[in-house]
Amino acid sequence: MLTLECPYCGVQADETELSPGGEAHLKRFGPGSDIDDFEGYLFMRENPKGVHFERWRHAYGCGKWFLAARDTATLEVFGTYPAQTTEPPQALREAISAKRPGWRWRDFA
């Protein structure tokens, strides 16, 4: 039963206030894009055992989407941040490095 802090309203939100939204930082591929890129965008997921970035919506709270960095093997949460970004904040990446040296997720490390 996860608890994630909503970066908008500051609530330590119980999992039952949230709805999960899958992998974060997906790049959308639209009409005319390469079929491999499009397949990757829709179906291929990192699904890592370890550090992961994912989307959550504070559905029963302020209604905002946010992103979370979490370890899928221990469920440790490294941090949450607003969804309006294409990459994890540097400070968060450093915080993860302190706890999981050498971590890598897609192009981020």
Binding site: L2, R28, W65, T74, E76, V77, K99
Partner: protein, 1003 residues
């Protein structure tokens, strides 16, 4: 015989007698008794039958670990099977019956199994009952099921209620023994928000029973003083009869409070399920004594030594007059001493240790009790209760040395910390060789959201079996937990416990150590599931070497006590059989709950009317009052039809269609989603969401729009109205409002966050009523107000104004093919408006209609329905909705997906109309049969029905369906499945069956 002594019993109130029945026999107990203590007080030694062999079973423990004393309790709406007698407090009128026997507890036909035991070893059913094949289902399985199963099934609806509570604490302390009390007090002093829970009805745990000393005081006095201090702390919540059921990720703990089980006449919920978020959880859950594995250790009258002591000290009950104590450690000597001090006879203490015990042993000897070191029980005599024991050397093979007559055996195989809650969420264990037990490995704790340890084990649960260590450990845990939760207030010093000097225990996993097969096959590990030492050895012999394999093969530890007594003995037996160490074998996984919790408590208040929310429109009450036949649509309940007195639902639907087509019908369309989308980029945004061009829609006009997901599949449809330059109102399907609102917010917040668009869900702000049929305009005009003429408000336009006195927004849209106005009024005026329409429509033959009428009318008109024509795999092109896909747009959600080869395949099934040749209705879900079979031998298909109805308007069956190359095959006749080997022929036709020219809706 077991009996109540004339004096003693710290938990019972002898001034308050309690009457109860067991198997219909009337018994007397005292307030404070458990059912087990009260039964023993009445010499009811046998209390049930075991699972597999139906062996006689007596009480073996005094707490949550009890595997045998399970009873059916109560009757009717309060009946409950498998209630543990040792944790059931007696009350006046309690009615219990024993389980798993026929015809009676004393004479059970199933007990034949015990004589067949040699033919029923571990895993026997995997090796037998293979032939003949049908026999398993019809003969063997029913027999096995009937003989297993323990308690009876409840029959009636549960008469009780349940509730939940969400608590947030800094420190949760589970266990109200001395370690838990010390921990809670220290955390409380430090200023933390503390909750302390104890599963039984009283505080103090074993220390009070054993009469140990703390800080120079009797444990009882220390407990009382500590409680007194705790009760004065406003930041501490104390709860008895509350069990820590499970520890989950991120500090989520489930606790199970039994509020009324002991006072059924009281009002209020029976159980309360606590969902606690704790920054730190301290598990001060104590330890459980292990049985010893000797032949006949399952005979009623063989109990854990600590249980014999509990019954004596807590309830004033002597289990036997002559009790042989058999042990491998010092603790059991307390039982001997206690019995002796109460004037009961202890013929011998059989201590497997050649060197014997420490100070307590010396005390026993000093009291004149015979102590036999290096000895073991060879076999217990007796069937339905103990009559004696035969002694032998522990080191030998069991040659009988002497017989001792006795009526009780108190056994102790050492203690195992209760590590369940520590382990639930990943806490690891280490093996303590000195004390022969698994204990929490503080270096590998369960971790929380912050990656830090979230559970701290304390006291005996942490492996500190002696008083001094336990209470100091509890104190330290309280301090550490408070500190970790950010509280560092002024605290006290560690309480000092005092212990007699003890000799080391001797691991004894089989008694005697060289016991023969005959003895091993009578030495029980799991009393409830009838697993013996020989069974685990057989499992090892057959290669079930993993502890999980052995458990599953033998069913060891899978009974209702989940192996609280049997697991360690079982895996020690396995490790011996495999010739590896115990930690190499490891333990099975500990899973919640610690002891079983009621399903009712889990469901909580969500029963009957509160099972799930029912969403109601402003007109819902009218529907209910007027006999609507409802159907659930999402969480709404929409009227399916409005049958009149004596009218069938089907007839009502036919009437509603006819009336709407000829006069006028009234539809409560309030459930349709309504989303306002506004902002400088709203048009651009909607162009991405819909397949159509929305940005070009003129103000005042309406357009039917389609929405797809990124996979290209249709997810919703509805009419979009342009409200002003920057604002659109998007209608969604009934189930779609929240989903589509979320979909929009997702794209706005996560993809196009720089676009200036706001969305609001105003579905429930309005009551929306469809006034439908040739006389719709007449009805509305009779109310007065705005101009609703064809010229002022043509088809697919909307206008704001007044109808009568009502603030109305009128959409001229039609889902029926009739002249139709959908009128939105503020929800607070919805009911009044509905009433006004009914009144005004009386003269025009107005009737309300339900969803089925709506469906038929739209099918007659050839309109698609999301969820019928679509199923999550259908793209707009399949439905010939190419006209609603803008060719001008570079992009919309789903466009890329629709470019894929499987989506542009000319052989995708496409929508057509269908008419049976005989006028009958094609069954729902029917498939069109194709030629031949596929590579897997399945009949090929060439289409399927998506909507099929009897059309009262046309007087025959009509349908829509997706058919291979359908639009190119107009007039062709194909066959649909109708039943087993029955088909129905249908002709492919245009999907619009009614008013193809659209004259009626445009009227």
């Amino acid at each position: 015989m077991s009996t109540r002594l004339a004096e003693g019993g710290r938990l019972i109130d002898r001034s308050q007698a309690v009457k109860f029945t067991f198997n219909g026999k009337h018994f007397k107990g005292f307030a404070g008794d458990t059912l087990a203590s009260a039964l023993l007080a009445n010499d009811q030694m046998m209390v049930g039958r075991s699972f597999k062999y139906h062996r006689p079973r007596g009480v073996v423990a005094a707490g949550a670990e009890e595997p045998n004393a399970l009873v059916n309790l109560g009757k009717g709406g309060t009946f409950e099977p498998n209630q543990r007698a040792t944790t059931t407090e007696v009350f006046d009128g309690l009615a219990a019956t024993s389980q798993n026997h026929w015809p009676s507890l004393e004479f059970d036909v199933g007990a034949i199994n015990t004589y067949l035991a040699r033919f029923l070893p571990a895993g026997f059913y995997y090796k037998m009952f293979i032939h003949p094949r049908p026999f398993w289902k019809y003969i063997y399985e029913p027999f096995i099921r009937q003989s297993a199963g323990l308690g009876k099934a409840p029959k009636d609806r549960d008469a009780d209620t349940y509730e939940h509570f969400h608590a947030f604490v800094d420190v949760l302390v589970i266990g109200g023994g001395i370690a838990g009390l010390a921990a809670a007090r220290e955390a409380g002093r430090a200023g933390a928000r503390v909750m302390l829970i104890e599963q039984t009805a009283d505080w103090g745990g074993r220390a009070v029973v054993d009469g140990v000393k703390l800080g120079g005081k009797d444990a009882g006095v220390w407990v009382k003083d500590t409680l007194q201090e705790l009760e004065t702390m406003p930041n501490v919540d104390l709860r008895r009869r509350t069990m820590g059921a499970g520890v989950y990720d991120h500090g989520y703990v489930l606790a199970y409070e039994r509020l009324r089980d002991h006072v059924p006449e009281m009002d209020g919920p029976r159980h309360r399920l606590w969902r606690i978020r704790a920054r730190r959880t301290i598990t001060a859950t104590g330890a459980i004594e292990r049985p010893l594995s000797f032949a006949g250790n399952d005979v009623p009258g063989v109990l854990l030594a600590s249980a014999v002591r509990d019954y004596l000290v807590n309830f004033g009950v002597s289990v036997g007059d002559r009790t042989v104590v058999v042990t491998n450690n010092d603790d059991a000597y307390r039982t001997a001493l206690a019995l002796h001090s109460h004037g009961l006879i202890v013929p011998a203490i059989v201590d497997a240790r050649p060197q014997g015990g420490g100070e307590l042993a010396a005390a026993a000897k000093a009291a004149g009790i015979r102590v036999a070191n290096g000895m073991a029980v060879a076999v217990v005599k007796g069937g339905k209760r103990v009559t004696g024991v035969t002694l032998c050397l522990q080191a030998g093979e069991g040659a009988p040395l002497e017989e001792i007559a006795c009526d009780c055996v108190a056994m102790s195989g050492g203690w195992s910390p209760v590590v369940h809650l520590w382990s639930h969420c990943g806490g690891k264990l280490s093996w303590d060789d000195d004390q022969a037990m698994f204990r929490p490995d503080a270096g590998r704790p369960p971790t929380g959201a912050d990656g830090a340890p979230m559970v701290i084990a304390a006291g005996t649960a942490n492996g500190h079996l002696a008083t001094a260590g336990a209470v100091a450990d509890g104190w330290a845990a309280g301090l550490a937990a408070a500190k970790a939760a950010g509280h560092a207030g002024k605290t006290g010093t560690a309480p000092k416990g005092e212990d007699a000097a003890a000799a080391a225990p001797l691991p004894v996993w089989l008694m005697p150590q060289g016991a023969s097969y005959a003895k091993r096959s009578k030495a029980w590990l799991d009393f409830q599931n009838d697993v013996k030492v020989s069974d685990v050895q057989l499992a090892a012999q057959e290669g079930f070497e993993s502890v999980e394999h052995a458990k599953r093969y033998t069913t060891l530890g899978m009974a209702t006590d989940q192996g609280k007594l049997s697991n360690i003995n079982g895996l020690a037996t396995l490790s011996n059989a495999l010739n590896v160490t115990i930690p190499q074998v490891g333990t099975t996984t500990f899973r919640p709950p610690y002891t079983p919790i009621s399903m009712g408590a889990i469901a909580g208040v969500a029963r009957d009317a509160l099972f799930q929310p029912v969403r109601k429109t402003p007109i819902h009450d009218w529907h209910e009052a007027n006999g609507a036949d409802f159907e659930p649509v999402g969480q709404w309940r929409r009227p399916y039809a409005f049958p009149r007195k004596g009218e069938s639902v089907h007839d009502a639907v036919m009437r509603e269609v006819k009336n709407t087509r000829t006069n006028v019908g009234l539809l409560d369309a309030s459930t349709l989603g309504k989303l306002v989308v506004t902002g400088p980029d709203a048009g651009r945004f909607l162009d991405m969401l819909y397949t159509n061009m929305i940005s070009t829609l003129p103000v005042g006009k309406c357009r039917y729009g389609l929405m797809c997901n990124e996979n290209g599949f249709l997810i919703d449809d509805g009419v979009v109205a342009r409200i002003d330059e920057q604002t659109w109102l998007c209608h969604t399907t009934t189930g779609g409002a929240e989903r589509i609102h979320g979909h929009m917010e997702d794209w706005l917040q996560c993809e196009w966050w720089d676009w200036k668009v706001y969305v609001a869900n105003v579905t429930e702000q309005f009551a929306q009523i469809g006034v439908v049929g040739p006389k719709a305009r007449d009805v509305l005009e009779s109310l007065g107000g705005m101009d609703l003429s064809k010229e002022a408000l043509p088809f697919m336009q909307w206008a704001d104004g007044k109808i009568g006195e009502f603030d109305a927004r009128v959409y001229r849209i039609s889902f029926s093919g009739e002249l139709s106005y959908e009128v939105a009024v503020p929800a607070s005026q919805g009911r009044a408006f509905w009433d006004a329409l009914l009144k005004a429509g009386e003269a025009h033959g107005i009737m309300p209609y339900g969803t089925e009428c709506l469906h038929i009318m739209r099918a007659e008109k050839g309109f698609i329905m999301i969820g019928d024509e679509t199923d999550g795999t259908v793209i707009p092109q399949d439905l010939n909705l190419g006209w609603a896909i803008s060719k001008k747009k570079d992009d919309y959600l789903g466009k890329r997906a629709q470019e894929r080869s499987h989506m542009t395949d000319p052989n995708r099934w496409k929508l057509v109309g269908l008419e049976t040749l005989d006028g009958s209705v094609i069954p729902d879900g029917a498939y069109a049969i194709g030629d031949g079979v596929n590579a897997n031998g399945q009949r090929n298909t060439q289409g399927r029905v998506t909507s099929t109805y009897f059309s009262p308007t046309l007087g025959k069956g009509i349908a829509m369906g997706l058919v291979l190359n359908g639009p190119d095959r107009m007039g062709e006749v194909i066959e649909f499945t109708k039943g087993k080997d029955v088909t129905v022929k249908a002709r492919i036709v245009d999907q619009v069956f009614y008013d193809k020219a659209g004259e009626k809706q445009n009227a």
